[in-house]
Amino acid sequence: MKEKQEKHRSFMKDFLDDFKMSRRSFMKKASAATGGAIALGGAFTPSFRTLAEASETSGKGLGEWIASTCQGCTSWCSKQVYVIDGRAVKVRGNPNSKVNLGAGCPRSHLGLQQVYDPDRIKTPMKRTNAKKGRNEDPKFVPISWDEALNTIADKIMELRKNNETHKYMLMRGRYSYMRDVLYDRMTKIIGSPNNISHSAICAEAEKFGPYYTEGYWNYRQYDVTNARYVLIWGADPLAANRQVSYYSAVWGDVIGKATIAVVEPRLSATAGKADEWLPVEPGHDGALAAAIAHTILVEGLWNKEFVGDFTDGQNRFVPGAVVDEETFEEKHTYGVVKWWNLELKDKTVEWAAERTGLPVEQIQRVALEFGQAAPQAISWVGGGPVMQVRGAYTSMICHALNGLTGGVDNVGGTLASNKEYTDHFPEPDDFMDEIAKKGKKHGKIDHRGRKEFPCLNEGKPGSAVVTNNAAEGILNEDPNEIKVAIAYMNNFTFSCGQPERWERALSKIPFLVHITTNASEFSWFADILLPDAHHMFEKWGYVKSIGNGYRHVTIMQPVIKPMWEAKIDETEMPWLIAEKLNERGFSNLLDHYKTYIDPETGKAPTNAQEFALYALKYATQNLWDPAKYKGGDKFNGWEDFRKAGVWNSDPYPFRKRWSNMKTKTKKFEFYSETLKEALEKHAENHKTTVDDILETCFYQARNEQAFIPHYEEPYTNGTEAEYPFLFVDHKSRLNREGRSANCPWYYDFKDVDPGDTVWDDVAKINPLDAKKIGVKTGDAIRITSPTGSITCTAKMWEGVRPGTVAKCYGQGHWVYGRLAAKEFGKIPRGGNNNDLIPAVYDRLSGSTVRHAATRVKIEKV
């Protein structure tokens, strides 16, 4: 022992000699001032706040693929995340999904840069600057979960105490199907009618056509691998529409078998690989569809098996001629002759060419080849032609082509959703007290159902949301003021047309809570921010989706420990609020949530984490519990299902819906008795006529035309003299929605969007136009519409129709993160298309308009 000490002393002496040389100042200071008197008391028992002794299990270094789901767009693909040492490092398609077939797209990889974004909201925060406005820095400071939840609960209790629970509002952006816990049940049990979804800024008008022809209010799936003709209207399935991963995976095969035609004013990713690009004059898609329908009928190409035929087999569809309805015997459709007489008889190819700006020969060729491919022909309706002021009828006429070809519900055609067996959460009724019941009866803040907003979701007037109009409701306190609002995973101050209205509306709400991953333009106006779990890596939930003739229910699970203080928006947070309300004497919400029992153990949840898991198991029990098996994939229990991560339905039952559709006549309606009933009901509600309703809502149809698929001229803001260009908005293959704006890869790879440039936000102008206005690639330009202006960079590109200017949506953030904004809080990176787009609506569906919405002018700056 002694020897060891001596040796050490000797070594340390040598060492310290060197040491002293480099620490001369220390030795001087130490000997002169403090000597050896640095007290060691406590110094040898330092308390570490960030480190702990390692547990035996940590750091094995073995990775594992864990199933989850990507919600980078609305494809909702089943995924697997490679997790090593608690860190997510890779994402791939879940091979267990029959919808995605293991395929992926760039968005899922961007998820890694989202979950590990250093600019994420890390902890609950509160605003310390009471003033609200674009130029008011909120000066957020971190607070504890406890403080945040207490504040929220106090505000809700105040509303309940004063019998003004209708002044509570819940706004929802991207959701999973756990949504009803927060969106529906909590809002109802508190006692408010004001749960406002984002759906109307997505693509509700796309659902309008299918519903009022075949009784199906939803997005469709397309049997592309069996199709011989795929006619796509303003959709870009290889980049930005539903099931991007699936369509990307099979498209090579599809191209080989089918003719592909894309109708869109700019050359999309899909158009770039198509046989035909039809750069239509924006807003005139309905004219093209009418001419195609006209041609199919005139040429006798309609599908006789589905539509039927003239009783004597003689085609009386002669251009300009009225046909006697009695001469035609329909099979699975209703009103084809009415449709011809009221709309199609004069809609010749030449007539359409004048309106669409497309060559007669091309229209003729597409119409014939499309008709000849029947029934293996698809008319694929995207957001482009329908998210317009008169888009509801364009949605009908473009979709109605599927009725003529018999492609509806058919092999190689357009398909509805397969059956799935998830369950609703427990009903809230028994937990709604008198205050809640009374509160819920008030009118909604978005004005749906008023004369000027028919919003005919599934045939019911006033049943579809008018998301963007909620700003007007808040601003005008119509029907009442909003005092307390909670919003999650939305950014209406960026994602809605004329977003400046939302800035003023949010400034007016005295208490606003925003739940999100990245603080956005919406968060800027919040009083409390809550850090949200990232859907793919940190959340329990599920979504359902269709494609490839299947439906899958795919789960999201916390594959890593949540970063920072993040909690799950749709389950953990409402539970925590419910606990706080319970502490304040209002137990109804917590009592309700306790009925979400774990199907495996029969136990009620006792905390937020248990609740998040039990709620998911509850909703999906029919899929994984062998005792409850109803169809599709079979599992041995929850754990088996969790590991697979996805349940697949049975294959698509083709033609089962023929003459069994959810329309009034059960047929595919070319004359929509279903729409007629809905419109008449709405007119009756307002003691007026259908024509008056249509006039109020800016549609051109009158009389019988109101009930058939037909062409209407576009309704566009601005005059051609002052604003020479039509503005074309389109989506990126890197972010159909938002949330990629602070990812470096988004900018690094921006040129995967045809015509776009890395690390820039460009407006694509046809070189002929560019020359006329003296602009060239790289010039800084200002684009101005009647409702706003943005600055960005000019790009000369042949892929846009002359007379239009196309710009990808997604950039132009003035906050959202260090990369997203050029100068944070002040100067946006690029321009937000919505600053140009007016707050106008397709009022029959409630949709917010983003296409053919406005004219613009371009100036060099």
């Binding site: 050490h8 040389m21 960030t50 890694l112 974004d117 970063m563």
Partner: protein
């Protein structure tokens, strides 16, 4: 990551032998405490900030007299309104919008504004090699500045413990670990970070904190160069040759 809370480590020290390597012990203790005090300052502002400033003045007077003005500046800076300090702290290190000075090694070393990268994993590996992991109730990334500063403090105390227990081999082992952790991690990004803080801070306090941190770390580089066979340190060169830097 662990499930426990941050913990208190008890080092086994033979009191009799303590004075044998007094100079070393005194100096190293001051170093270890400086790292720990700085680490505490990069947590959310609390009501121990004033007391901490006094302690930091004492330890910096020993290990880095050059930083004395900054230590004095910290005290002055603390006279600011506490809310102002919280707002500035959030803006610099927490968010919510765009943190001005991300306090994470990976942001600088990997240059992608993406956390939990390979460099983070390397830091975690080193904590584990030293028998540590992120505390369960610590919710931030393992290469957050507070963790890296605390880890240095831990390694220093381990060296002191070994030295006092006359374990030369272990003393040198822990000194070398400190050196390589500074080279590969903390020292390779702290100056860039401190620059960002100084540029963006609205308060005198955080400017001085960043300056004090940078001055101390720079000085500490040269100190650690006395580790046997360590060669001469050149802090700028270290940043360049860092193998984890992408």
């Amino acid at each position: 990551m662990g499930t426990g809370t941050g913990c208190t480590f008890r080092f086994r020290i033979n009191e009799e032998d303590f004075m044998n390597v007094e100079d070393f012990t005194v100096y190293e203790t001051a170093r270890g405490r400086t790292y720990k005090l700085l680490a505490d300052y990069y947590h959310m502002p609390d009501n121990e900030m004033r007391e901490r400033a006094i302690s930091l003045s004492e330890t910096l007077a020993i290990v880095c007299p050059e930083a004395a003005p900054y230590a004095a500046g910290l005290k002055i800076g603390l006279e600011a309104n506490p809310d102002q300090l919280s707002v500035d702290y959030a803006r610099l290190f927490v968010g919510p919008f765009a943190i001005a000075a991300p306090p994470y090694g990976s942001v600088y070393l990997e240059g992608k504004r993406q956390l939990m990268g390979d460099s983070t994993q390397d830091a975690l590996r080193r904590y584990r090699a030293a028998g540590l992991e992120s505390a369960g109730d610590f919710k931030d990334a393992p290469d957050h500045i507070t963790v890296e500063l605390e880890f240095m403090s831990f390694l220093i105390f381990k060296a002191i413990e070994a030295s006092i227990n006359s374990n030369t081999e272990e003393t040198v082992h822990y000194l070398k670990k400190q050196k390589s952790f500074l080279e590969d991690h903390l020292g390779a990004w702290i100056f860039e970070f401190a620059d960002a803080v100084v540029k963006a801070a609205d308060t005198v306090f955080f400017q001085n904190l960043a300056n004090a941190t940078a001055a101390f770390l720079k000085n500490d580089y040269s100190s650690i160069s006395a580790v046997p066979a360590a060669g001469q340190f050149d802090s700028e060169k270290l940043v360049e040759i860092n193998s984890l830097r992408v």
